[in-house]
Symmetry: C2
Subunit: 202 residues, 2 copies
């Protein structure tokens, strides 16, 4: 039980289960997403699901990983933050996604954080996912600092944390409000706050 997929066929099956679960849980929440609905959505059977996952909780863990992968894949600019202009581009990339046809979309990690933030097992995994996300921002800021674009006494980790918090709040409010204005505004604030620590150029 809870075996790892070894064949290509198995990997495909496992992946399609996680995909279906990720989509349904994003839209309806974890508790409201039954295993039967997931399996119906991807055409798999229950024995397959319990072949790859010990239980529903372990599937949620896989879904969290999937969320993080998707999030980072949707903002490739985050891997290339070596100038202030790149940070602007990163923000533009985020906003472009939100301006897409699916309207303002929430952060799937944030959704889970709301529902499962007090779950002793899940909360640390969400924290871990957020930290990885944040680490890419921190690395960008370190690059800026190393290139003399950021003050030496600025704390990249803490600035990255604040920037992520801004993003989360903006996404949450934009989603509930069905309007990206709060996200646009708060990202501008986040970037302006970062630039407060810009090193004056010679």
């Amino acid at each position: 039980m809870a075996t790892q997929a070894t064949t290509d066929q198995g990997k495909r099956t496992r992946d399609s289960i996680v995909d279906a679960a990720a989509q349904l849980m994003y839209t309806n929440g974890v508790a409201a997403t039954s295993l039967d609905k997931i399996l119906a959505a991807c055409g798999a059977g229950k024995s397959q699901m319990y072949h790859y996952f010990k239980n529903k909780n372990q599937m949620v863990e896989a879904v969290i990983e999937r969320y993080l992968e998707t999030i980072l894949a949707n903002q490739p600019q985050i891997y290339d933050l070596d100038s202030w202009e790149k940070f602007d581009l990163w923000v533009e990339q985020l906003l472009d996604i939100q301006r897409g046809p699916d309207g303002p979309i929430a952060c799937p990690l944030g959704n889970l954080a709301g529902e499962l933030g007090d779950d002793e097992k899940i909360a640390p995994l969400l924290d871990k996912a957020y930290r990885e996300w944040e680490s890419h921002l921190a690395r960008g800021l370190e690059t800026l600092r190393d290139n003399g674009l950021l003050n030496a006494d600025a704390d990249p980790g803490r600035l990255a944390q604040s920037t992520l918090a801004c993003l989360q709040g903006g996404l949450l409010l934009a989603h509930v409000r069905r309007d990206i204005t709060p996200l646009v505004d708060i990202l501008a604030i986040a970037i302006a706050n970062l630039r407060l620590h810009a090193r004056p150029q010679a």
Copy 2:
């Protein structure tokens, strides 16, 4: 069915049901909070619950109202924002709550927004609650503007929205992380952003 409470006894019963539901739903999420658990927690019977509420969904609506009331009651300073110092006090009040024994606590509205943000019935109610919360901040900023402390061209509504977004993001991250640092930092950013629009004093 779904009658309004008329006697004091009835009001007490209804209140205790909403209280129990609010607490359990905050901790475990809406879907994971069964009616039986709620009723067991407050000692009421099922007939009582269905006497005051049409169904579980309508109870969630009552819980949202309760959340807003509790939130505002916990930050009375929000009703008295007529100087920049009062904004600082408001932030201090928020942080004091978070430094309390229950550790970093999430925003109950934010929790529901994560789980039910795509629910056609619930999302507008959350939006409405957030707007009322935000309106108190906006009114404070308008007061500042009328008193010549805020630039005339600043938009109190939009600034209030950004401030609330900061607060939400900070609360979310602080809760998942079990550390209020992100909240402290982002509230400082939020206030600094507001003060950017302070009118230079003569």
